[in-house]
Amino acid sequence: MKKSIYSMCGMCTVRCHIRAEVEDNRVTWMEGNQHILGGALCARGAAGIALRDDTERPQGPLIREGARGEGKWRQVSWNEALDHVAGKLGEIKEKYGPQSIVVSSRGGPWQGLYKTFVHAIGSPNYTNHDNTCGRNTHHASLSVNGVARKGLQYDYKNARHLVLFGRNLFAALLLTETRAVMEMLQKGGRLTYVDVRVTETSSKATRFFHVRPGTDYALALAMVHQVIRENAYDAEFVDKYVKDFSALCTFIEPYTPAWAAGECGIDEDSIINFVREINEDRPRVIFHPGWNLSRYNDSFYASRMLHILNGLMGNVEMEGGLFFPKGPGDCGVKSIRTVDCRKPDIERADGCGTTYPQFEKGPGLAHLLFPAMKTGKPYPVKAWMAMRHDPFTCMPDPQQQKEYFDNCDLLVSIDTHYSEFGWYSDVILPESMFLERDNHIIVQKGLKPRLAVRRKVVEPRFDTKAAWDIFRQLAVRMGVEEYFPYETIEEFWNWQLEPTGYTMADFEEKGFIELADKPVFYDRGELEGRFKTPSGKIEVISQVLEEAGLPSLKPYQSPAPPPKGKFRLVYGRVAVHTHSHTQNNPLLHQMMDENNLWIHTDEAKKLGISDGDMVEVAAANGYSGRLRAFVTDFIHPEAVFTVHGFGRQVPRQTRTHERGVSDQRLMAGLLDVWDQAGGAISLCESFVTVRAAQ
């Protein structure tokens, strides 16, 4: 019999709402939820069905037999695997203390589950992938607005001008955002885009700043300079809600458009004209503060300026601007229950919040756990459980990482596919892929908040389990099951919904529960205190930074040009793959099976390289790889670019094994190159050599 089921996609961490049709335990049709996406679904979403059909994923719990990374596995029962993991965790807890156990994840709305587990067993060391993603933007937002990176959202659809610094949102898809920006453009909105190369997003831009790599901060400074000089800001809003504006005015004095033009390699007039445009368009101007801004050593400061520019536009809490995301409480609804356990009162092993007071304790910073592994200080780190997080592809230099991880007595990967880390680990606990699992209920905040839930669409094809079950079963074995007050997902859902008055039946109509029928805005005249800074306003000078001995307003330092004969390595994304997760997907592999290397026409000529030639790209750590050159005028000559996620090392993924080149393996030494104020690794601070392949 044919069934129609609402659920949520899991091919990337956007988790779009979907509807699937199922017959005989097979998915026969899948589309974006009509109520939210009008049916739209990206190529990766389409490939969810291929993921289910793929046999080259773990088909049951695996325990390592040979040496780490050797690829000898024994498939075992869930009982044996869970007993084994719990037994090892118990031994480690006994010997080194519970704090020596780390759980990492890819963040997201369900992370409460994993966090609860690690806290419940007595460790404060929950971490995530954000050190290679949004941490700089997050810390920048905290320092300026007092709220998390996602503590302000954007009403793109009604904006008149969107400014993006390297946020290639027409390739790194987030469907509601993609569609809203497209609507903005169709209504005549302007799009200003900043990058070192042409992208799908620059292709739709009305203005493009093609900058020298590493000079985003310079351009942002000049924008602030010119906005202030031309009085292109909302004086009333600034007066009311922006603290230390005069300090900003003094600091920004030298950073003229003429100066930035030289620094960034762009035209002075274009900056001046840009500011005239936004002066026409404000307050409906949105400066996106950056997403994956873990790029340069001053990305944190660039992001701070972008946050400050939003303040200058006076665009907060209005249509076409920024808004505080609303939750159930703002709609007069009681919120759902969610699993939780207080973080143990122990110093984090990465020093976040203690050694580094400028970094929020929250998930800390994954790369700062390596020193603890190496030195045993402040205490040893001996177990690492990675929940769909792949440290070896997220972070640079996996070769170096392996040396650190070898100090651990237990490495566990919980994932739907073989990650590079999983392949090296001791135990793989295979999670059911998204169509085969339920997840607990979440709140999706926004102008119109809603409750959302992922439903199992088909039965698992292999011996896999959902995360709610895996963590509960581990908790039972560790004697902390009181934090997981359910046995089945139905019990979990009902327990979550109880205070709200809703039932699971309320999800049937649309796939989600809408908590407001029209957008909820706060009073624009009463925003003080909504910014959770000490003053309750947008702050130019941050007490946290100053106390940590870091400047709030950092004088610009020009990035060094590449050493002779080298290029700066920059990376990015495409619309047909998700990071490093999907290269072996039978469908997506067909659509893109390897990456190439973008290089500027003049540089290629000097090296005797023509478009389509095989080239060898090499890093200082000895890693090198071969791939095809894409020769173009539209990448900055100092940079070469490649798509992240290729050059995979898992032999069982036969389609993608060793296809293309791994950018993170080329990032020699970058584990130690991170933003001292923002915390994220600076992933674009490495240099490579390129030559024609023999």
């Binding site: 974006g32 898809l173 569609r179 493009f208 619309a575 469908l587």
Partner: protein
């Protein structure tokens, strides 16, 4: 040309190739066989900015289809009621005459079955009153399932509106 027409708004298209993926899933085509395909043009400078442009290519469902004329077995057919050109699998002998005959190389070879396949506008969906897979799930609503007459009408309407909104801005 069949009654129906898939119109592609290049200003909306971001080249994400979701349409290709949905087509492949719907028609279960092997690697290398694409009933619809996004062709990338560029990057090149246009209006002062380096850009890619994307063009959607499927089958034109020609009024006088070369492929049908070339097919020796009658496998390649044109549906009377609406002009959809499609392959009857049972009759296809894999001679590839249609691939040679089509000026745009639209019919696709399937190495696994030894037969040709091509876009049939998701005939089974159309007969249920639904749109083809590519159109139904296009990420930016760049694709519209329409008739040739309607497409022309809405192009003119769009043009007229953009003309007026430009005048508004200038005035």
């Amino acid at each position: 040309m069949s009654t129906y027409y898939v119109s592609h708004d290049v200003s909306r298209c971001i080249g994400c190739r979701a349409c290709e993926a949905h087509c492949k899933v719907k028609n279960d085509t092997p690697a290398g066989s694409n009933y619809c395909k996004i062709m990338t043009v560029g990057p090149r400078l246009s209006r002062g900015i380096p850009r890619f442009d994307f063009v959607y290519m499927a089958c034109f469902h020609c009024e006088k289809p070369w492929c049908v004329d070339a097919c020796p077995t009658g496998a390649m057919q044109r549906r009377d009621k609406d002009g959809i050109v499609f392959v009857n699998d049972d009759l296809c002998v894999g001679c590839k005459a249609c691939i040679t005959a089509c000026p745009w190389g639209v019919p696709q070879w399937n190495g696994a079955t030894g037969k040709v396949g091509k876009c049939d506008l998701c005939m089974d969906r159309i007969d249920q009153g639904l749109a083809p897979a590519c159109v139904s799930k296009c990420v930016t609503d760049a694709l519209t399932f329409t008739t040739a007459e309607q497409a022309s009408e809405s192009r003119r309407q769009q043009f007229a509106e953009s003309l007026l909104s430009k005048q508004d801005q200038q005035g």
